[in-house]
Amino acid sequence: MIKTEKVLHLKSSRGRKVRVVREHYLRERVPCFSSLCQAGCDNDGKVLPGDLTHYVVPDAEVVVNFLEVLELTELQGVVFTQTACQALHSKGRRFYNRLKSLLRDPRHDCVLFANEFQEYSYRPREKGESQERWQSRCVYAAAAWYYHHLAGMMSVVMVTEDQEAVSRFSSLNSGVFVISFQDYLQNFWPGLQAAHELYASISQALQEKEAEDSSREFSEHLPAEVLEAGIKSGRFIQGTLNVSKHRAQNEALVTNEGLSSKNPDLSGGVLVFGSKSRNRAVHGDAVAVELLPRSEWRGKVTALTEGQAEEKSGEDGETKPMPTGRVVGILQRNWRDYVVTFPPRDGTQNQSRNSQRILAVPWDRRIPKIRISTQQADALQDHRVVVRIDSWPSTSLYPNGHSVRVLGRAGELETEVQTILLENCIHVAPFSEAQLREMPLNSPEQPWSVDPVEAGRRRDLRETHLVFSIDPRGCEDVDDTLSVRRLAGGRLLELGVHIADVTHFVSEGSLTDLEARSRATTYYLADRRYDMLPGVLSADLCSLLGGVDRYAVSVLWELDAQSLAVTSVWFGRTLIRSSYQLHYELAQALLNGEEAEVPELARLDPAERHAKLSELTEALEKLTHVARHLRAQRDRGGALELEGVEVRAQLDEEKNITALVPRQPLEVHETVAECMIYANHWVARKIQEAFPYQALLRRHPSPRQELFRPLVETGRARGFAIDTRTNKALADSLDRAVDPQDPLVNRLLRMMATQAMSQAVYFSTGAQPEDQFYHYGLALDRYTHFTSPIRRYADMVVHRLLTAALLLEQGAEPGKTPAGNKDLEELSEHINNRNRAAQRAQKLSVGLFQCLFFKERDPATDPRCVADGVIYAIRDNGVLVFIPEYGVKGPVYMRNKEGQVATTGPDGTCEWQSGSVRRYPDHIVTTSGCGSATFRLFDHITVRISVLSTNCHADTLNLEVISNKPHCGPAPPKPGSQGRSQLVQEVVRLAEEAQEKAAQHRPKLSREEREYRQSRTPNLYSILEEIRELALMDPDAAARVCAASV
């Protein structure tokens, strides 16, 4: 069967040295995964292409230290050896998993060769041989085997960092080139700048690490066994470190979901105060903390802090002491790529002596400064750069890192947008060629058409059903359509929801599917969007456009025409042709019986047009009727109507950025949303019944009651009793809490209710008990996402589950069993994370545009910078204000840095004078020499908006109170939606102009600069250096300089 051979391994376990003998089996046939293989290896899966110039076999040390460089997709034909893999494994599981996902990734040309199991490439370790030496010998043997196995048809290059190995092996003549990694990059990839820079920065970081001084700044972390035992015995508490956004220097909370059930004391988390007790933990790490004695417990600071984290005297305005602890060990680092800004070089910085090391400031305030070793500190100042943290030894105040990629100059629109994407770990490279090759063709020469075989398998609704879609104006990716008709002589109504059949085009496991899975959702930013699927699908073949045949997945309900009770329901794949592509305003106009121009009917003669129009209007009316009934049904169950930016993103039945805009709520919005919710609900029921333990559903957990406290208190201030016991009670009391004078009161209350709630999440039914399936917001026992497969990956999963369920029902064997509970739970966790990232990115980009908008204006003169705000919460030294016109929320300080307070004159305008501030539950009073002013909850005040610029972080809006009277602007406030979209357009235009200007300015400036240089004649180095610097700005400009200087 197999040839066996035994090997001795020496191993120590649990501290004691133990001699362990392990068997080691070798075999002749180990797949090589090369398409050039002549020996007929059993190569299934990923295979190295044969048309490369060479294969590269990295040494163990190279893989361990420079995995990031090898991760670049440009490096092709990488053969990882098992030896190197194991060396990486011993460095840490995280790195090993990265390598594993790299190997699985079909976009990346690299394979794993199990060299230690190959009879001829295996080299036993000799007595007294050091591990490194043995590893490089193994790798060399593997490389030599590879060369001979492929019969010399492909040159094989082994790269190593060990100069001694280079000289040792290159004298052996076995056809393998042995060179150092640096030489390799320079000779084989001279154009791959990213790899060179990455290599330089990593090797610099490694060198720095060796030359560390040893003064101790932090206490050592405890070893993993001690932590594990401590957590089990309850001495330590395990949790995730969340650094406070506003007081990143000092405050951090360690939270754990399971914690509150065990110990009610700790339900609010454990406070970690000060950087000493945080002990090198970074935001997001899983840590173990030890509680401090009760006498050292302290509270959180409740006062508003100004933008910069200034040292406060500490004692003012703390909450009551809460459990406080210190970090004793780190269970899992969760370091990601961080965006940092290199500080401008001025003489004051004490590092200027040591030009190699720079303290860069991360964009995210919660991350400590990172020490970067780089040669290009001058070139990079004021640039945003992606960095990774390498280590944080206990001897250092700051973590060490290396730079990976330069994004661009801080403050530019493109840089800032890239920063937002990166900070949320959103990677949206353009779709690769291989992915696009999988797509069906649809060009004017070769139009895509319905396949008759496929059509035969589907239910054809083209003739029988009047199908139409209602979407925002200008929507491209139409993924849902509706239909409604009478059946059985009017006794029955048939309601249909038809969803684009994306999974027909995207088969599971294909490259497109993998890409969609890793993106998980379409990302909408204020000025652009990144699609989950390639354009040919999302905007064309899957989009249910009007007047063309499209594949769909449909849910058809038969309802009793009188009681609207469901008599039967049908799921299945269909073929539809949408007759009308309506938008919301048009649909509402038709419903209201107004004169409206339907573009699809414009060409028909009047009589026919009239008939068609009445047919359509009747369908819309019926639809509205049904939707009202469904809504009422859910209302009885306690469905909530929520308000606020967050909720819209969550419900997300809109397609566009307009979703964020305070839009005119039309009834037809609700009608469409209601049908979609209904379809989602029924599909959830269907798949949960078919796959009780592996269906992907969406749940909305009931919120924690204590989070409602601010809402209840705020409501009480205005005299409304808010009952939060159940969702039904909350919905009712929110409905009652209406101030006839001020519609904003109700909106604000709803917004606060939304804030108190947790987010809805996807989950696998096998991972939760059945009573946890409930969707709190929608008041449904089961819910999922089914209706937007073009822009959500979860919907694609649900489509596949539904298809499998239908096949199962027909008795046919499903071609592929759906993913198991564990995989599905992992997947849903991934989708949840991506969704959160998408929401954060969207919010940040909106904030970015707001800042850019106001940055262009002078706050003192521009009337648009003065707006009306409503106070919705009171803090110790100020109030929180909501500005409906711009949808901005933010703090307004009543006491500024100099200790002055805002008091109002007789006409209501505010002045800054020294005085004091007193806080009450529902109002705040400022007193000074000239009198006092009172600000109550829900008071309208006038605020001035200005931009607080920081170099290293995102700009923030600064609000300043100028009057305690409502603002009445010179012009009536325009509808918000217009203002917002204008805002985006204007900022984009300005950015473009700025870029053009920069392109014109740059060459001239740089020429002037050159004159001040010491060397008169421009040497090659300086030219290259300049070009590179310019390349960061603008490719055109760089080309021009190149031409000018040569």
Binding site: V18, R22, A114, F117
Partner: protein
């Protein structure tokens, strides 16, 4: 040890085997002259010596004798040098006692005890080196020893352990795999008829997986039986050549 990857993506195990491959089995019969039957068996790095005495009349208390069949008496022990750290107590501890009991049950199912009423068969097994799968190695060694003693059996008894990792059954676990948090199952089989003499499992396993696991264990046992059969035939061949001389 939780960090060990028991099965790589390419389907290799720690020691380079594939999921269904057994360790190398080597055996010799008739290693001692004094005993009625004896055998030495290596399965990978697990090495066991089995010795059989009997059938002979009851020793010790005669009251244990059965009037219609023979009593099988098993004793399992581990050499003090059999593990990486020296073992203090070679036999008589709980584990050994339990193992002895399992062996007894296994061989009561296989040996045709009804041919020898009121008599006793002693099977002593000693693990010389332990590297996982002690029970199955003992069973396999004892089978050879019983055959060497000329005691009639229904069939060979072959045993093998299987573990379950990443939805894949692994045949014939080694020590590192047993310690790596695998739910393992030991199965003794009479391969020709496919009867199971003993199944033992004390880990948690979803019942859906049990069938595949037992299936894999039976295949592995059949593999072992082929090797044992070869050893017996080889031994017979040698013995006949020897006697002819």
């Amino acid at each position: 040890m939780a960090g060990l990857e028991l099965l790589t993506d390419q389907g290799y195990r720690l020691d380079g085997r594939k999921a269904t491959e057994l360790r190398k089995v080597q055996a010799r019969m008739g290693v001692f002259a004094q005993a009625d039957g004896s055998a030495y068996l290596e399965q990978g790095n697990t090495k066991a010596l089995a010795v059989v005495y009997g059938p002979h009349e009851m020793r010790g208390s005669r009251s244990r004798a059965l009037h219609d069949r023979a009593v099988i008496n098993c004793q399992y022990s581990m050499a003090t040098f059999s593990t990486a750290e020296r073992k203090r107590r070679p036999h008589g501890d709980r584990k050994s006692t339990e193992m002895s009991l399992h062996l007894k049950q296994t061989f009561e199912a296989a040996v045709m005890t009804q041919l020898f009423p009121r008599s006793q068969i002693d099977i002593y097994v000693k693990i010389l080196q332990s590297d996982g799968g002690n029970y199955s190695v003992c069973v396999n060694a004892a089978t050879l020893a019983v055959i060497d003693a000329g005691i009639p059996m229904r069939d060979y008894v072959c045993a093998c352990t299987v573990g379950f990792v990443d939805e894949t059954p692994l045949a014939d676990l080694c020590h590192a795999e047993e310690g790596g948090g695998v739910s393992s199952l030991a199965l003794a089989l009479l391969p020709r008829g496919g009867q199971i003499a003993l199944v033992q499992m004390d880990a948690r396993l979803h019942q859906d997986h049990l069938e595949t696991l037992i299936e894999a264990a039976m295949t592995a046992c059949k593999g072992v039986s082929k090797v044992l059969d070869g050893v017996v035939r080889q031994h017979l061949h040698e013995a006949s050549v020897h006697s002819r001389e």
